[in-house]
Symmetry: C2
Subunit: 115 residues, 2 copies
């Protein structure tokens, strides 16, 4: 099961850079090759991207992964879901920071430059 975050990052990366290889995607997003391969297949299976033929001087058998119309639609949808989650995280993290600041001693607080 691909998380919203992963889907978002993949669709975003692929849309911006269709000519990336799976290895380059892996490096860019900090994922393992196996995981990227699994995910790309899943995206192909869902019909969100398709693999066109792409060739340039250095890449030998690389595909160009391009977003389908369905993929574009999904990207919008997943981006919105992901944004909502991030906004929630934002609130949570604010609360967590507040709590943490209360638990940090005065001398420690001076070390940081907060408050």
């Amino acid at each position: 099961m691909l998380s919203d975050e992963l889907r978002y990052q993949l669709l975003r990366t692929i849309e911006r850079n269709p000519e990336l290889t799976q290895r380059q995607i892996a490096k860019e997003l900090g994922l393992s090759l196996g995981k990227v391969n699994y995910c790309v297949k899943a995206l192909l299976d869902k019909g969100w991207i398709k693999a066109g033929n792409f060739k340039n001087s250095s890449n030998k058998r690389a595909y160009a992964y391009i977003l389908t119309p369905k993929g574009l639609e999904e990207k919008g949808s997943v981006t919105l879901r992901f944004l909502k989650r991030k906004l929630q995280e934002y609130e949570d993290i604010q609360y967590a920071i507040e709590q943490l600041q209360n638990e940090v001693t005065e001398s420690q607080r001076k070390e940081l430059k907060i408050l």
Copy 2:
């Protein structure tokens, strides 16, 4: 390897509530029993908590896990580290939200009540 977050949450929870059983800690923090057991052992091994004898009406063979002086010190240290990481996360998330907002369409943006 215990993460700073896990260490922080455990020390914090145990300090506030020494009489919690491993199962209660697991439930409170959303962890599995096995994981809590593993972590508690690690904390004991490090000498940050010690297991006193504790008995009440409903608990049969429960320990009272209480923070040692070293544990208290470590809690302060880990809390500070964790706070720093959260402050960084806070910045990161702000940037991520900014990016996400730019990628969301106008109609979608209206659905949320942002900007």
